[in-house]
């Protein structure tokens, strides 16, 4: 499916706009040509990548992974666009933890344990078995910037970490980028437009004579 509002540019047109003629073509341009072709033909019609079906977490156990899924979806839920669970933020979190320095990974696992401990204390069940209302209530405690309670310190710190990872994992995902940010990943532009608002000090948009108007 082509990206709405973005015409598929022909390879010839794209290369013309990039100023790559048929004449002297430096060696380095060969790889660009291939990329441009890919961008013109493949990217707008991109087939969404298919997540691996047999994925298993490397840094987290199954319960920790379920907890991360629940937490990330609470932070960025499905609304009119997909949420963190649908874009598999948990897999990104696992990859980061697998790469992290051991002290950081340990602190994160300790945070997951803190969430479960507090959930048990408040609701008598682990976090993933609590009701959505209970989960929201717990996160409200640890997400409050005003919360300076010593007993909640580890939880507040952990929430900051899982929230930051959820933000990165969500907005950099293929779906998050396209559906939430409306960024189609285009990386070839023939020109850059600047400010065209005289009220900001910019130049009004140029009105080209009809004969010089470029065909789109």
């Amino acid at each position: 499916m082509a990206t709405p509002g973005r015409p598929v540019v022909s390879r010839r047109e794209l290369l013309r706009r990039l100023g790559i003629g048929v004449a002297a073509t430096p060696v380095w341009v060969a790889s660009l040509t291939a990329l441009a072709e890919q961008q013109a033909h493949v990217h707008p019609a991109a087939v969404p990548s298919v997540p691996a079906a047999n994925w298993v977490p490397k840094a987290l156990d199954a319960h920790q992974n379920e907890t991360v899924i629940a937490l990330s979806e609470l932070i960025i839920p499905q609304t009119d666009t997909p949420g963190a669970k649908a874009v598999l933020v948990n897999r990104f979190v696992d990859a980061v933890l697998d790469d992290a320095d051991e002290a950081d990974a340990r602190a994160f696992r300790r945070g997951l344990a803190w969430i479960d401990a507090r959930s048990s204390e408040l609701f008598g069940v682990a976090f993933v078995r609590a009701t959505p209302e209970q989960q929201t209530a717990l996160l409200t405690i640890v997400s409050s910037p005003a919360n300076r309670t010593l007993a909640d310190r580890d939880g507040v710190e952990f929430f900051g970490a899982i929230k930051a990872l959820t933000i990165i994992g969500y907005y950099t995902s293929e779906v998050g980028m396209r559906e939430e940010l409306h960024d189609d990943g285009q990386i070839f532009f023939a020109s850059l437009e600047g400010c065209t608002h005289p009220e900001h000090g910019g130049n009004a948009p140029a009105v080209l004579p009809a004969t010089k108007k470029r065909k789109s």
Partner: protein
């Protein structure tokens, strides 16, 4: 090739080595370029077209763990991230030492093209305000050349490299031979107008950058994909492998020798350079490249290391160091100070910046006409105004649907960051640490450098004035930043083998020829007598071009 004698052996294939190779081969000379690293393959080594979700860690600002542990210094560079870290050296193979309590962060890339692959491309001419600064304020020494002498070489370099920018006719920041400028965003226009109306003697202009806004010399115009620092498959910004080295290669006179880790320069019995000694990076075998002339373009600090490691009975303090200045007067620009904020007045107006690989520039306004009471010299600001895509989410409170919805209100953000001159001080220096060896057995450098009182006062002024200008432009939520990065991290290190007319207090003459050894030339940032506040690469290339003209003439007349 074993005993081949080249006309010129150049050490280093980066911005200036590329220029020397082009100009000397085009003059008919047979040239060898020694490069410590390998050739890069744009199709596999460059990552500028990868999106975050193409990367395992989504483009983390640090290298992945296996490399992170080997790049404790390099990872501090903004560009040494998950995408581009392999363009930086492993610190474990390239150690150096520092004086107690005085950090120095040496950022390096060893491959064909050197740092011209990862550089930030900002390109500004110096003026006589910089070159003759000592005569005006009494600190340090003047450059031995004038702007008028350097200007034709700026022209030559710019006409080949391609610098996009806007002519402003400023005496302190001469215009280049510009390609068309890139456009300003709405927020930048607003700040530009405010500065023009309310801050006499100051202006904001689009960054001057070595990125092509139209095709030039067989290289295509920029296609605005954005992240230049990961390499450019199109060759649309200046890097030596995309422009000067192919030009040199086309002459048939160039021998590019990769994986050649240079240790020192070897003299003959008459005290002239005979060859350059190097270690094969892969086999560790010692090798030698013979030349009638040796040109060091290895980068400021590597060139200095080679000179100091070339000591002999004839030159006990190191090569070209009868003056004793080699290693001394180390400079880097000061940075880390400025201000940032948001522009709510632009709420809802889309960002036309897209992936513009360039920012804005506020040229130096301190000590241009009237002396400033607190400090000597000056600084320029680099900055930009753009719509935050999603990074503002980190600072937003809460979670859930309301949080997700609030992130959709994308703020316009704006920032100004100063880059200032650091004064040349004899005590800021590097020397050989006799106890240290790199992975190839070559003695390492030890740094002893700290910024001084003049720099600290300038840092405060940078923050004060950035804050004041942003406030005047209606910027909200202003955050002052008044830090000073440790020396090295601006990656504008210069000095340590300065040029001058007096052999008693300089390493090379006005043509960058060694005072002590006539067939030795230095053509990188090591020759700077003072740092100015402009990004140095353009000037380094212009100086190299000028020195090459002289070298060719000297060879023609038999003087060298």
């Amino acid at each position: 090739m074993a005993n081949e004698v080249f006309d010129v052996v150049i050490v280093g294939s980066g911005a200036s080595g590329g220029w020397a190779a082009k100009q000397l081969t085009e003059s008919g000379l047979k040239v060898a370029v020694l490069e410590a690293g390998r050739r890069l393959d744009p199709s596999t080594d460059f990552t500028e077209h990868k999106l975050a979700h193409d990367m395992p860690l989504r483009g983390s600002e640090h290298p992945p763990k296996a490399w992170r542990d080997e790049q404790p210094i390099q990872k501090l560079c903004y560009q040494c991230d998950e995408y581009a870290h392999e363009l930086f050296v492993k610190d474990t193979e390239h150690p150096y030492t520092t004086a107690a309590g005085k950090p120095f962060q040496w950022i390096r890339g060893r491959h064909v093209g050197g740092k011209s692959i990862m550089w930030a491309r900002q390109s500004y001419r110096l003026s006589d305000l910089d070159l003759k600064a000592a005569s005006r304020d009494g600190w340090g020494v003047d450059w031995p050349i004038t702007y008028a002498e350097l200007a034709p070489y700026y022209d030559r370099v710019e006409n080949f490299v391609g610098i996009s920018g806007q002519a402003e006719n400023l005496p302190q920041l001469p215009d280049s031979r510009f390609l068309p400028p890139m456009e300003l965003t709405c927020g930048e226009r607003m700040l530009q107008r405010t500065i023009k109306e309310r801050f006499p003697g100051r202006l904001l202009t689009i960054g001057r950058t070595a990125v092509l806004t139209k095709a030039l010399n067989g290289r295509p115009a920029c296609h605005y994909c954005g992240p230049c620092g990961r390499g450019c498959s199109a060759g649309s910004y200046y890097s030596s492998p995309a422009s000067t080295l192919p030009a040199a290669d086309a002459t048939g006179k160039l021998s590019l020798i990769t994986n050649a880790v240079v240790s020192h320069v070897v003299l003959d019995d008459a005290g002239r350079c005979r060859s350059v000694a190097y270690v094969d990076r892969m086999t560790r075998a010692p090798r030698e490249a013979f030349g009638k002339v040796v040109v060091l373009c290895a980068s400021t600090l590597e060139t200095t290391r080679i000179l100091l490691n070339s000591s002999s009975s004839r030159a006990p303090n190191g090569l070209s160091n009868s003056s004793g200045v080699v290693g001394k007067y180390l400079m880097d620009h000061i940075m880390g100070s400025g201000a940032k904020g948001t522009l709510p007045v632009l709420k809802g107006i889309p960002d036309p910046r897209a992936h513009r690989p360039n920012g804005v520039y506020v040229p130096r306004f301190r000590n241009v006409t009237d002396p400033h009471p607190a400090f000597l010299r000056g600084y320029g600001y680099q900055g930009s105004a753009e719509v935050s895509k999603w990074a503002h989410a980190f600072a937003m409170p809460g979670f859930g649907a309301s949080f997700k919805n609030a992130v959709r209100q994308r703020p316009w953000t704006i920032h100004l960051s100063g880059f200032g001159e650091s004064l040349a001080r004899v005590e800021n220096r590097c020397e050989i640490d006799k106890d240290g060896r790199d992975a190839w057995g070559i003695p390492v450098l030890r740094f002893d450098m700290a910024f001084g009182d003049n720099e600290k006062k300038m840092i405060k002024d940078m923050a004060d004035n950035a804050e004041e200008m942003l406030k005047a432009a209606g910027v909200q939520d202003i955050e002052r930043e008044e830090d000073m990065a440790p020396p090295g991290l601006a990656i504008h290190e210069v000095g340590t083998a300065r040029m001058g007319d007096d052999p008693k207090n300089s390493a090379v003459n006005r043509w960058q020829q060694s005072h002590d050894v006539r067939n030795l030339f230095l053509m990188d940032g090591s020759v700077y007598p003072s740092s100015a506040c402009q990004n140095p690469t353009l000037t380094i290339m212009a100086l190299a071009s000028r020195a090459c003209d002289y070298l060719v003439e000297q060879l023609r007349t038999g003087a060298v």
